[in-house]
Every structure is written in structure tokens, then in C-alpha cells.
């Protein structure tokens, strides 16, 4: 039962195929999360500073100035999309990996997996 070496929990050294798959999808979701935040703000900053004071707020999308829409509307929507993608993947992954997972699961009184 010792958990040393490669079987010790470490997000950078996952042990087992299930955990490796899970960490891969976590990494992809977090990359999408970070890239959207940094990318959108980088774009807003560069556009604002490359037009010599001319307002980028003149450009609108869905009635809103681009920076407002990109940051205030798109990013929260993108986060929801990331959560949905992650959940769908995890639901499928749970089904595929159930044989391994059930060894350590219990069931509550109403039969739900815990």
C-alpha cells in the first residue's frame, strides 16, 4: 500500500491512465482559461495603445464597445463553455473508468454514487 515513487499523487507526475487523462483535460481547460484572459486583455491593451489615443471604444459589437463586450460579456460566457466541455468529458471519462473507480466508491441510502 505504500505510495511512493511514481504512484504518489503529483499533478505533474500523474500515475495511472485515468489520472493522466484527467490531468490532460484539466491542463487543456486551464490553458483555454488563461489564454482567453491574457489574450483578450493583451488585445484590448495593444489596440488601445497602438491607435495613438483614438478610442477603440468606437468599435462596437452587439451594441457594446469591443473592450466591454470582450471582457464583460464574452469571457464569462467562455468560462461557462469551458465548464460544460469539462463536465461532458468527465462524464464520459467516468463511464469509461467506472471499473477502476467503483472499487473505492460507496453508495448513499438513495443509491447515489458518493
Amino acid at each position: 500500500m505504500a505510495t511512493s515513487g511514481s504512484s504518489e499523487t503529483n499533478i505533474f507526475k500523474p500515475s495511472g491512465a485515468t489520472m493522466k487523462r484527467q490531468i490532460l483535460v484539466i491542463g487543456m481547460v486551464l490553458a483555454g482559461w488563461l489564454a482567453a484572459i491574457a489574450g483578450s486583455q493583451g488585445l484590448v491593451y495593444l489596440l488601445g495603445h497602438s491607435r495613438q489615443g483614438e478610442s477603440i471604444s468606437q468599435w462596437t459589437f452587439f451594441n457594446l464597445p469591443i473592450p466591454f463586450w470582450l471582457t464583460g460579456q464574452f469571457l464569462p460566457l467562455w468560462f461557462i463553455i469551458l465548464c460544460v466541455i469539462f463536465n461532458i468529458w468527465m462524464d464520459r471519462h467516468d463511464t469509461h473508468g467506472r471499473g477502476a473507480a467503483l472499487r473505492f466508491r460507496t453508495r448513499s441510502n438513495d443509491g447515489r454514487e458518493e
Binding site: E8, N10, A17, T18, G48, N63, C83, N87, R112
Partner: protein, 507 residues
């Protein structure tokens, strides 16, 4: 907002809403599990999401965010991104795993994972501090609304508001009223969005989706009044924006009363989908909040009302008032704000009182305390916590509601978040590392408040509302270093983590 006269109709609407929520909670107390959306069905997951959103919605979301946007423009977008993006971190890194630990509070988790009563006590003290700071923001919001309702000044309004909170909790607790959070969310969202739709309709904008319709007001402000909304990053550096945004994200994934939602959800899939639905419901409010700030500016410009930074936290209310909405609509808005603040402050106070009566009192103060003693300790500490938050809310140091809340997020992001993150994802993290990390996190949070004035470097690198951007990685590094220098955790806890939490030992 200046003192005026008693607003009888809005006051009646507030009273009616609280009576409605109170009696629905009274009726739901015996069937709490299903009413809270814990059924596990598809509609149950929506219910869990609504409960997560209701648990989250506070005076900072309802009043503070629009106030920040009114006052600081694009910087407020960091709140929108931080308070929604944090849920992605929470979902992918913590929600499933926390559920598998099966512990009911943050200190419980810390004590179990790190096998340390000292770490439990420290986590409990930090949880209490977070509850106290966050409650100050709620008390300020309640006081501003009570001030308008009764036409009185801030200080007496604060005392009345705090008394109402204490009375509400005492009566609810005595009668065993359940918090029907699913119902409460739908009341909140209607109270927030309906006035906005009516305002944009009155202005002739695209009122069906006022979250987009308010863009016309930005153009009108510029064309008719020459007011240009400040350019992004014009008033603050990109570092300040990112530091605030990531502090709020780390704090979201570290707030004890948010984390505790996942201990109580019946299934792992329900926990995950509950987060996604919860984020959608939260985003509905955040997509809408900037609109109130823009419309308030427009009405001020139209009515030649001077810009008043002191009224920023009530800008939602002033938009409705200057927009000429019927009084009952303004009453609905106030009722929603009061409900959000009351719900949050109640949850925070109860979390703080439970941390004291369960994690500190029987372990440090009275080791042989009976269950009855613990109940009295919880009640007594609830009153102490209320008094402390009330005292701090008298003079919140010129901070706005959202800024006070951000300070609580900074503390959570610097302490609880790293401890949970490494506790879940690194088997080698041990008690010494957790204790060192939490202590360092407290110092990092407090440093800009204590030494920021005399050491400008601290104030610029660790702004008090945004210290977790650099602070959380620093705490993680300290935890790793201290853990590696001291003995590893027991084989039992590492095995539990690897097999029960992560399914990692199938090979």
C-alpha cells in the same frame, strides 16, 4: 445618499419579500434535501446551481460591482472576470476532489488531509477572519439600503441593519427555518434584471436583453454630453488589473462558505454540473451590473446631477430613482439587495460561529464540552462576530463594498486556496508546510495594510485588494519548500489521496 423620508411602499415590499422567504423556508424545513435541489436529476442540478449562485450573491455582487464600474470604469471588469473565472478553477481543480474527501468544513478538510489539529485551528481562525471581513461589506450594503428606506443617516442605519440581521438569524434558528436558496436566487435575479429591462425600455433601447442594450447609452453619453467612458488601462496599470482579477479568482476557489457547498452535494456529477449552472446564474447578474453604472451616468448627465463618488455603492438605486421607475420597482430592487446581503451575512456568521464552536472551543478552550455547551458557544460567538463586523463597518476606511469583499478574497486566496490546492494535488504536502503556508498567507495579506504606507514596494506589488496574485504562488512555493524539508505525511493519507480521491493506483 442623503437622509430623506421613510419609503413606505418599498419598505412594505422588503417586509413582504422577507416574510415570503421566511415562511417558504419554514415550510421547507422537513423536506430540505429535495427543496435544495439535491435530488440529482437534471432539474436537481439546476437547483444546485441556483443554490450555489444564491449562496454567492451578496451586497458586493448586487450593489458593489455596479458601484465599482461607476467609479473606476474598466478596472471593475476585473471583478466580473475574477468572480466568474474563479469557478473554472474551482470546478477543474477542486469540486470533484473535495466531494470525495467527505469533510464538511474547510478546517475539517485541513485537519483530515494534513493530520494536524494545529493546522485545523489555524484554518478555523482564518475562516472566521474571512467571515468577519466579508460581513463588513454586507453590513455596509445593508446600512446603505436601510438608510434610504428609513430616510436616516448611515450610522443609525447600520445599527438598525445589524439588529435586523441578528434578529433574523435568531428567529430563523429558533424556528428551524431552512434557507430556500433555489427560490431565493430566482427572486434575486428578477429583482435585479426586471428594473434594468424597464429602464432600457423607457429609454427606447433594446430592452429584451438590456445586457447589450445599454451600449446605446454609452454612445449617447459621448454624442450628447461629451462624456467618454475611460479607456481600458487608462487609470490603472495592466499589473493592477491582472493582480485584482487573479486575486479574486484564487479567492473564489478558497472561500470556506463557497467550498462547503461541495461537501453537501449528493453526487460527484451533481457537484460538477451544479458549478456550471451556478456560473451561468452568477454570470446573468454580472452581465447586467455594468449597465446600471452606465445608465446612472446617463441620467446624471441628463439631469445635470454632479458626479458623486461617495454615492457609488448605491448607484443601482440611483439609476432606478433618476430613471423615473415606479416606486414599487425600486422597492423590488432594494428588497433584492437586502435579501442578497442578509443571506450572505447569515451564511458567513453561521460558518464563523460553527468554526469557533466545533474547531476551536472544544479543542482549545473546553476539551470536555458537551453538545449543549457547543451550541451556547456558537450562539455567543455569533453575537461577538456580529459586534466585531458592526464595529468595523462604522468606518470601513473609505473602502467600497467591492473593495472590502476583495480583501476577504485576498485572504482566502493567500491561505485556504494554496492549502486546498496542494492538499488535493500533491501527496507530499504536509502539516508543517500547510501551517507555514497559512501563516505566510496571513502576513502577505496584512502587510500592505500595515506596512504599505511606509514601504511603497509592498503597496505596489501587494495591493491590499489584490495581494494573492503574487501572494498565492509565493505561499505555494513556501509550502513546497517546508514540506520537502520536513517528514512526509503518513502512508495512510497518501494512499487515501492517491486511490480514493484520484483513482491513481489502477496500474
Amino acid at each position: 445618499m442623503e437622509p430623506g423620508s421613510v419609503q413606505y411602499l418599498p419598505l412594505s415590499i422588503v417586509a413582504a419579500l422577507f416574510a415570503f422567504l421566511f415562511f417558504s423556508g419554514l415550510g421547507a424545513r422537513t423536506r430540505q434535501a429535495s427543496e435544495y435541489g439535491f435530488g440529482g436529476s437534471y432539474s436537481g442540478r439546476i437547483g444546485i446551481g441556483a443554490a450555489i449562485a444564491s449562496n454567492w450573491m451578496s451586497a458586493a455582487s448586487f450593489l458593489g460591482l455596479a458601484g465599482m464600474f461607476y467609479l473606476k470604469g474598466y478596472l471593475a471588469m476585473a471583478f466580473v472576470v475574477g468572480w466568474t473565472g474563479g469557478y473554472v478553477l474551482l470546478l477543474v481543480l477542486m469540486a470533484t476532489q473535495i466531494r470525495r474527501f467527505g469533510k464538511y468544513t474547510a478546517p475539517d478538510f485541513v485537519a483530515f488531509r494534513y493530520e494536524s489539529e494545529a493546522a485545523r485551528t489555524l484554518a478555523a481562525i482564518i475562516a472566521i477572519a474571512i467571515a468577519a471581513i466579508y460581513s463588513v461589506a454586507q453590513f455596509r450594503g445593508i446600512a446603505l439600503l436601510v438608510s434610504w428606506l428609513f430616510g436616516i443617516a448611515y450610522t443609525p442605519a447600520l445599527i438598525i441593519g445589524a439588529s435586523l440581521v441578528v434578529g433574523f438569524v435568531v428567529i430563523s434558528g429558533t424556528l428551524g427555518v431552512a434557507r430556500n436558496q433555489k427560490l431565493q436566487y430566482f427572486v434575486l435575479i428578477i429583482a435585479f434584471i426586471l428594473p434594468l429591462m424597464l429602464l432600457t425600455r423607457k429609454l427606447g433601447y433594446f430592452w429584451l436583453l438590456p445586457q447589450f442594450g445599454y451600449g446605446t447609452a454609452i454612445s449617447e453619453l459621448k454624442q450628447q454630453f461629451g462624456f467618454v467612458w475611460p479607456q481600458p488601462f487608462a487609470g490603472e496599470s495592466p499589473f493592477a488589473w491582472f493582480a485584482l482579477c487573479f486575486t479574486l479568482m484564487f479567492g473564489t476557489a478558497g472561500l470556506p462558505h463557497v467550498l462547503s457547498r461541495f461537501y453537501m452535494v449528493p453526487g460527484i456529477r451533481d457537484a460538477r454540473w451544479g458549478v456550471a449552472w451556478g456560473l451561468f446564474f452568477i454570470a446573468l447578474i454580472y452581465w447586467s451590473a455594468p449597465a446600471y453604472a452606465v445608465l446612472a451616468r446617463l441620467f446624471e448627465a441628463r439631469g445635470s446631477v454632479p458626479f458623486d463618488p461617495a454615492s457609488a455603492d448605491t448607484v443601482v438605486l440611483s439609476a432606478a430613482l433618476h430613471g423615473g421607475l415606479p416606486v414599487w420597482v425600486t422597492g423590488l430592487l432594494v428588497a433584492g439587495g437586502m435579501s442578497a446581503a442578509f443571506s450572505t451575512v447569515t451564511g458567513l456568521m453561521l460558518t464563523g460561529a460553527a468554526s469557533f464552536s466545533y474547531d476551536i472551543y472544544p479543542r482549545l478552550i473546553r476539551p470536555n464540552a458537551s453538545e449543549n455547551d457547543k451550541v451556547y458557544a456558537a450562539k455567543g460567538f455569533f453575537l461577538v462576530l456580529s459586534a466585531v463586523s458592526l464595529a468595523l463597518a462604522f468606518r470601513p476606511g473609505g473602502m467600497m463594498i467591492a473593495e472590502i469583499a476583495a480583501l476577504a478574497f485576498a485572504l482566502a486566496g493567500n491561505t485556504i486556496f494554496p492549502v486546498f490546492l496542494l492538499g488535493i494535488w500533491w501527496g507530499r504536502a504536509n502539516a508543517a508546510g500547510a501551517i507555514a503556508g497559512m501563516l505566510a498567507g496571513v502576513i502577505i495579506t496584512v502587510a500592505p495594510l500595515v506596512a504599505g504606507g511606509s514601504i511603497p514596494l509592498i503597496a505596489s506589488l501587494l495591493p491590499y485588494t489584490s495581494s494573492a496574485f503574487l501572494g498565492a504562488p509565493l505561499v505555494i512555493a513556501i509550502m513546497i519548500a517546508v514540506s520537502l524539508m520536513t517528514s512526509p505525511p503518513s502512508v495512510e493519507i497518501r494512499t487515501f489521496l492517491n486511490r480514493h480521491v484520484h483513482d491513481g493506483a489502477e496500474e
